[in-house]
């Protein structure tokens, strides 16, 4: 009788299993989703970081969009330089748009020295929360809060907190300009700007929209909106709105005249060769211009 139970159980379960297999087979046949095999091939070529820098949900999302659109207009993976897009273009027989490589820059220079702390923050280490609680340790309501939301959100380890200045610092080689930090910053202090020739770039490292005197009260390197840079710029690249200068990187020819006249040093120049002594500045500028 013991055998009987075993046999019955085997037969019953076996039948159920077989029946289910048959049903599943037909369902799989009938409802099969036709997917372009190209999508997987394109996705293979993408870096697979799923950073969202392209504006699509992950690398697969971008691959789908590329295959569906059939062209590469406006679709770009910022994460791995132009080589990725060239590879994809080669695979699909298209031409990739030439895109200027970008990098994230911090538009604040309120270091411990230039913007000394007036209060002390001791709560959850999140910029989003600190932003709801107070204007910031220095008192500047536009400046960096220094809690590092941009650092935690960066998937490429391209930002770290400088322990001396207490400001996030972007590592040039690692930043792929995916824009995650731009979205994470509650005060949108980070901006994606053109990397520039040999990494040379120039920007206003301040976001303060207050009158000069008020801004300077909290921070010695604030942009005071004096418009000196606007007057000196030969390319009309600089505008001043709400007492804050902004350099348009598409118009800027990197002549560095603005940085020279800025009374507070709010305009930062990066990766430029060191300036020659003062007497020769005019020559340097003219040679720079001819270069541009």
């Amino acid at each position: 009788m013991d055998y009987k139970i075993i046999i019955i159980a085997t037969v019953v379960l076996g039948t159920i299993g077989l029946l289910s297999a048959v049903i599943l087979y037909y369902i799989a046949k009938k409802f099969r989703v036709e997917e372009d095999p190209l999508i997987d091939e394109v996705a293979e070529l993408l870096p697979g970081a799923n950073c969202g820098g392209c504006g699509y949900p992950g690398c697969k999302g971008l691959a789908e969009a590329i295959v569906k659109a059939g062209s590469l207009d406006g679709l770009n993976c910022p994460a791995d330089g132009s080589s990725t897009m060239d590879n994809i273009a080669g695979l699909l027989g298209l031409t990739a748009e030439a895109t200027e490589p970008k990098i994230a820059v911090l538009r604040c220079n309120g270091t411990c020295e230039s913007a000394p702390a007036k209060s002390l923050y001791d709560s959850a280490l999140s910029c989003a929360y600190a932003n709801t609680l107070f204007a910031g340790e220095s008192g500047c309501q536009y400046g960096c809060l220094g809690c590092g939301d941009c650092v935690t959100v960066c998937q490429f380890d391209a930002i770290y907190m400088d322990p001396d200045t207490k400001l996030p610092t972007v590592i040039e080689e690692k930043c792929v300009a995916c824009g995650a930090c731009v979205k994470a910053c509650p005060r949108t202090l980070l901006e994606l700007r053109n990397k520039g020739k040999r990494g040379m770039r120039i920007y206003v490292a301040c976001s303060n929209q207050e009158k000069g005197g008020v801004a300077r009260k909290n921070c010695s390197v604030a942009c005071i909106g004096c418009s000196k840079c606007v007057q000196v710029c030969p390319h009309d690249a600089i505008t001043v709105n709400n007492f804050l200068a902004y350099i348009d990187f598409n118009k800027c020819k990197l002549c560095r005249k603005c940085a020279e006249v800025c009374p507070t040093g709010a305009i930062h120049e990066i990766n430029f060769p060191p300036r020659k002594p003062k007497q020769q500045t005019e020559e340097v500028n003219s040679s720079n211009e001819s270069l541009a």
């Binding site: 007036k118 209060s119 001791d122 709560s123 959850a124 999140s126 107070f134 204007a135 008192g139 309501q141």
Partner: protein, 450 residues
Amino acid sequence: MNHLLEMKRMKTFKIGGIHPEDNKLSKGVEVEVFPLPKQATLFVNQNLGAPSTPVVQKGDHVKVGQLIAKAEGFIGANIHSPYSGTVTKIDPVSDFMGYKRTAIEIAVEGDEWMEHIDTTPELKKEITLSKSEIIDKIKECGIVGLGGACFPTHVKYMIPENKKVDYLIINAVECEPYITTDHRMMLEKAEECLVGIEALLIASGAPVALIGIENNKPDAIAHLQELIKDYPKIQVHPLKTKYPQGAEKQLIHALTNRVVPSGKLPIEVGVIVNNITTCYAVYEAIQKNKPLIETHLTVSGKSLENRKNLRVRLGTPLREILDYVGIPEDTGKVISGGPMMGKAIANLDTFAVKGMSSILFMNEKESKRGETINCIRCGKCVLGCPMRLEPYLLAPLVEKKDYEACEANGILDCIECGSCSYNCPAFRPLLDLIRVGKSRTTAMIRSRKS
């Protein structure tokens, strides 16, 4: 024995709650009128909802009680000048968080009041106004909830047609440690408060008003019980001391055993809740034509010797108050509002606003947070939570940015009482994270709707 039995019979809310040290150090100090400042600044957003629009210009001469900023939108409140003098500036000024907000600056000259305001201290018991007139008066005088939230009072009395008010609840719980302004109000201005409650009874149409007072204020309970003999519609209910009893939903549960559904207002269960100090402001508005131009402040702290209960005109520079009492040397943090729900003041060069109920000095030891260590799932935060939430679960969800799960776990029900953070033996910033989650979840829901 009798006393113990009575304690047992005393009402309170059932779920969660904590017992922080009540530290009512200034309960014996009489309310003092703070002298007028020379220069005062009034922010135009002193209430929950939309900021008001200034109706005066630079150079205008104003009198005490004159309208200087008009309410905007449905949830808004008028602002009146607490001073006579000249408007010198309308400019952005740093508030207590350090953010710049539009403010009206007045150079004070003398103390000249508007003619229609009755400045005599006499008690006027008889209410001659009708229901709609009372509500209009409350709206006109810019009265907001003085328990701390600053919700415009008249909005509460715009009752939907299908709803009926069964109870008017008067919140005299004052469950936050240190603060004693409501307590002093009940001892010094009890009759005025009761007349204010009578007016609110007319405005709401409720048959009965229940005053909830915690039993750590026996003198106030006795005083009011003596006085309500002349007011048949008003009852006084002593409550067992427990934090956060002063929270609207908890107080309703304690007094009426009704539970306000999630995401709904008290009117849903036929209740309106008002603070006792708001009742005093209502009395002044309807009987004396006096708009809301003052706030009552407890200035206290363990290291502070010169503890005060002050009646301060709105717009008084905080520095003057601090200089008046003298900042203790070992101050680590200055808080506006109670130690549980109040916020640290990041900028001391600011000005008194509506609903500011206290300035507390925490010494260095009190103001330091313990070192945060890992959560051991002890569940103390769950025990403390009066809203049946699980803070230990919500906080990591916020850290992972999973706001859908936050919503599903009821993060929006959180009343931000801080019981979880108070209870946590690992000093985790639970409430801080939940607050981030709340704002993010609301933003997510809003974007989903649009």
